[in-house]
């Protein structure tokens, strides 16, 4: 086996050296009746060329050649080539969690840079080293609000990604938490006046841009929450929107969570992705996840270490702020490289292109007979269109034309059969958008 550096002869020699006769002797702690006497059943090993062929075959069964107008929590963006080149360096790829800081300054410094840029982007004071993804980050924020306010009632907008809400339900089911849902308003955003916040509410949870692509009135929602002593948790599923939109931290959010996939991470059928988590300094010790801090060694050289570890499971065990251990290290690096490469101006430029292209598409589609924009709220790169035939059927038909038209909302909102969630990013060429609109027009 080519991954095992000891030759069979060496292994026999090592066995003898330590006083064993056969390899089976090594397992003498294991009761005989528990030892397998037959192969696992997976089959024979396959060679490298055969393995490539196997996966190529599987890949060819996926429809990545289609033009996708899908968002809904995962976004197609141009990924700078330097990212893959840099993360493939084995000192990043094959390194462990930076518990021994003297041998891990590379990892620790980029995490410090990541924490800084997440805080800058979201407009918050402090960010952690990452959580698994946007959905679990929302759940962790809910658990944190419980710890901070000592209340256990939540108001969650139904415009928060439905899968994020399902994860919150699963996480909080056994913790005596009550969740009420805030209805979407007629504009596509929630109505801050209609928030039933009271002094038992731990937090209000919204997403902006929301699942329908609409931008929420975060300032008013924050005011309403704070008046009742509740926290505002804002989820950001499309962080590129922060290149042009006022960040939740500048609108009064107490905790900002997000999905960092849009920051240079491939779609990869849903994972691995990157959970973002940022909050205010006053809540620092209630924050889940790893944190890297700046310090110095005894010569005065600047260095970085994991810090405030007493919040975490390996020290606090059952009283920890979270059970999280492994997080998304390499993917935090990808996002850091993305932000470094795009930089301030690149981020603004790519956000601008998303905004322009999606509005161009929306206008064109809304101009087609039988179609109209469902909501009037402002949007970034996603919008909902009312379709002349059930959206699910429309999507099916357009696949014949190598176009994935969007997400039929009926999947998550059963009474919205004629609504399609469309996403247009900088990757959609004008011709592709025009072709899309033409095909939509042909449906009627």
């Amino acid at each position: 086996m080519r991954y095992i550096p000891t030759s069979p002869a060496e292994r026999i020699s090592m066995l003898r050296e330590i006083g064993c006769e056969r390899i089976e002797d090594l397992f003498d702690q294991v009761p005989e009746k528990l030892r397998m006497d037959h192969p696992i059943g997976i089959g024979h090993p396959i060679s490298e060329p055969e393995l490539i062929e196997f996966f190529n075959r599987l890949a060819s069964k996926n429809g990545t050649n289609n033009q996708f107008f899908l968002g809904a929590g995962a976004y197609s963006h141009f990924i700078p080539v330097v990212i893959d080149s840099l993360i493939s360096r084995s000192e990043f790829l094959t390194a462990y969690t930076p518990y021994q800081p003297e041998l891990s300054q590379g990892t620790l410094q980029y995490v410090f840079e990541f924490q800084t840029m997440v805080a800058q982007l979201t407009g918050m004071e402090v960010a952690n080293a990452s959580l698994y993804d946007g959905s679990t980050a929302v759940a962790e924020a809910v658990l944190m609000a419980d710890r901070v306010t000592k209340r256990n009632k939540y108001l969650i907008a139904e415009t928060v990604h439905p899968q994020y809400r399902e994860v919150v339900t699963a996480y909080t089911r056994n913790l005596g938490v009550t969740v009420d849902y805030i209805q979407v308003g007629p504009t596509g955003a929630i109505d801050p006046e209609a928030l039933a916040v009271d002094d038992r509410t731990a937090a209000v949870v919204v997403q902006s841009p929301n699942f329908f692509g609409c931008i929420e009135d975060l300032k008013s929602i924050a005011d309403a929450a704070h008046r009742a002593g509740a926290l505002l948790i804002v989820a950001v599923a499309e962080p590129l929107s922060l290149g042009v939109l006022k960040p939740p931290g500048h609108c009064g959010a107490d905790i900002v969570v997000g999905e960092g996939q849009a920051l240079g991470i491939p779609l990869s059928f849903g994972g691995p992705y990157l959970g973002l988590f940022a909050t205010l300094e006053k809540y620092l010790r209630q924050m889940p996840g790893r944190l890297v801090g700046e310090t110095s060694d005894h010569h005065g050289n600047r260095g970085y270490v994991l810090t405030l570890s007493t919040r975490e499971q390996h020290i606090r065990r059952e009283k920890a702020t979270s059970n999280i251990c492994t997080n998304q290290g390499l993917f935090a690096l990808m996002a850091t490289i993305y932000l470094a490469t795009m930089g301030r101006r690149g981020l603004q430029e790519v956000a601008r292109q998303n905004l322009q292209k999606s509005h161009y598409a929306a206008k064109k589609i809304a101009g087609l007979r039988g179609y109209q924009l469902r909501y009037s709220a402002q949007f970034f790169n996603e919008f909902v269109v009312k379709t002349p035939i059930p959206a699910a059927e429309l999507v099916d038909r357009l696949i014949e034309k190598d176009i994935v038209a969007g997400l039929p909302l009926e999947d998550y909102y059963p009474d919205m059969r004629d609504s399609l969630l469309i996403c247009v990013t900088e990757t959609a060429k004008k011709e592709a958008i025009d072709k899309f609109a033409a095909e939509l027009g042909r449906i009627v």
Partner: protein, 508 residues
């Protein structure tokens, strides 16, 4: 000279680049990105977005760098790290093994890496097949009935498994109140149990490092929902009474959860299902070689008995009548959704590639070589470092610093000095029940030469401890930074760069 020395064979010093923070290297006007021009007619932004929702800070303080700056910056940072490709990484319970490059190649195939998770099933047949095949393979390895690959890491898997246990007990009429966890367990175990609404009680280990049966018998009441066990445990020992343990727990209506972090000792040799456990997780980033990435991503698939199958998170990949694959959401008894989408798909591809590359023979060989390597180290160091639980070990061996403390040095000092010898230190101070623990897991990825170098280094450090303990206390000498002030870092946390921030001494 203190730091070099004839005994240090594996490492030497070499010039390494300095590099500041991105924000310090940034200069206004530098550009590193490349985008096509906007090809649709542009509309004035204020017609699309109100001022009230528009960002007003011009993204001040986000860096501006050229592509060369970016490459230099991260390349230099990488040179300050130690990865498994450089040498042995003997971290106990972490299974730092070789990350095969073929896995990296196949994970990047565009048809796999570029697929949107909301793509209709008919456009995702290849992806669904990856998931199904991996679930089947892990099912065969564990002997359990069904597998979910959704959890993003081991701890996430633990949470999922405990949720399922609670759901099953709730359906029976009583979720119960407590979970029993051995004193040698990983901290994620109690933390996960608590999120499920349980309180935790600690089961002591006996003198040979296994679960104390008498204690367990008296603690296992009808208030106990489950026992969470690691097997082999964090002391490197196989729980020889595992069958009896499971029978006891089952007889009183509870479930047994197995933390599968140490599967590298069992694959192809023991099927966990045959020990009687009900549910377990595996760590793909340990046993199945997916890269550790400096702290993730991982993946923590959970395997369950037939009894717990209905509670698995949704969706599940199923094969329809016509042979095609689909996502099934119709799972009324499921614990729900534990994450968006389907799992750390990129990690799943790598693990599947690893399993297929090994096949039955290779996987068994992997386990045997891993256990041999650990016993080889134990044998050669048993007279140098105390082994609190002597005898055969499985894939990892626990030493303690007991014999070295009489010279005034502790396990952390030994760790820091080992860095000068060119090794990443083993896991320190875990499990908590071994004072001064040094937990060594070589994995199968080490050849005899590397193992011998490690053994020699550990012996040399032991001699240094007796001869010149201060040497250990001041180590390491050869890294970019020396021991760092973790106390100040915790007292006055500085968790981000701010403009105008001054470091104590400017780094290049």
């Amino acid at each position: 000279m203190k730091r070099a020395g004839e005994n240090i064979k594996k490492a030497t010093t070499h010039v390494v680049q300095n590099e500041g923070l991105l924000f310090e290297v940034s200069r206004p006007g530098k550009k590193g990105y490349s985008l096509p021009d906007l090809d649709v007619p542009e509309v004035a932004e204020k017609e699309l977005l109100d001022l009230a929702v528009t960002r007003a800070d011009d993204l001040e303080y986000l860096p501006e760098l050229s592509e060369v700056d970016v490459i230099r910056h991260f390349t230099r940072l990488s040179t300050w790290n130690y990865g498994i490709d450089a040498g042995m990484y003997p971290l106990g319970s972490c299974t730092m093994k070789y990350n095969p490059r073929i896995n990296e190649r196949v994970a990047r195939i565009e048809g796999l890496a570029g697929l949107h998770p909301m793509a209709p099933d008919r456009l995702a047949q290849g992806a669904l097949e990856v998931i199904l095949r991996l679930e089947e393979a892990l099912g065969k390895i564990t002997g359990l009935s069904a597998v979910t690959v959704q959890p993003a890491a081991g701890a996430h898997g633990e949470l999922t498994g405990m949720m399922m246990i609670r759901a099953a007990l709730t359906e029976r009429g009583n979720p119960r109140k407590k979970v029993l966890i051995p004193d040698s367990a990983h901290g994620t175990n109690p933390a996960s149990a608590v999120i499920c609404g349980y309180t935790v009680e600690t089961v002591p280990s006996n003198s040979v490092g296994c679960t104390d049966m008498a204690a367990l018998t008296s603690m296992m009441t009808e208030d106990v929902a489950a026992l969470m066990l690691t097997n082999p445990n964090t002391l490197g020992k196989f729980e020889r009474n595992i069958v009896e343990i499971c029978e006891l727990v089952h007889a009183r209506g509870g479930f047994v959860y197995m933390d599968g972090a140490n599967m590298n000792a069992l694959v192809g040799v023991v099927r966990p299902a045959s020990t009687g456990i009900d549910v377990m997780h595996m760590n793909l980033h340990k046993t199945f070689s997916t890269p550790h990435g400096g702290g993730g991503p991982g993946s923590g698939p959970v395997a369950v008995s037939a009894e717990l199958e209905p509670y698995l998170p949704y969706p599940r990949v199923v094969r329809r009548q016509d042979g095609s694959l689909a996502m099934d959401y119709n799972r009324p008894r499921s614990v729900g959704r534990i994450r968006a989408f389907y799992g750390n798909f990129g990690v799943l591809i790598r693990a599947l590639a690893f399993i297929l590359t090994h096949g039955d023979e290779g996987l068994r060989e992997m386990t045997e070589a891993a256990v041999l390597n650990a016993n080889y180290i134990a044998y050669h160091l048993k007279d140098t470092y105390e082994i609190p639980y002597p005898g055969r070990v499985m894939h990892e061996v626990i030493f303690s610093d007991k014999w070295q403390t009489r010279h005034g040095v502790r396990n952390s000092d030994i760790a820091k000095r080992l860095i000068d010898y060119g090794f990443y230190p083993p896991t320190m101070s875990f499990p908590l029940i071994v004072p001064g623990a040094i937990m060594v897991e070589p994995t199968e990825s080490e050849g005899r030469e590397e193992l011998d170098l490690f053994i020699d280094a550990m012996k040399s450090i032991n001699e240094e401890a007796a001869r010149d303990p201060q040497l250990l206390k001041d180590a390491p000498f050869t890294t970019k930074v020396g021991r760092l002030d973790e106390v100040s870092a915790a007292r006055k946390p500085v968790l981000r760069w701010r403009p105008g921030a001054e470091s104590k001494r400017e780094q290049g």
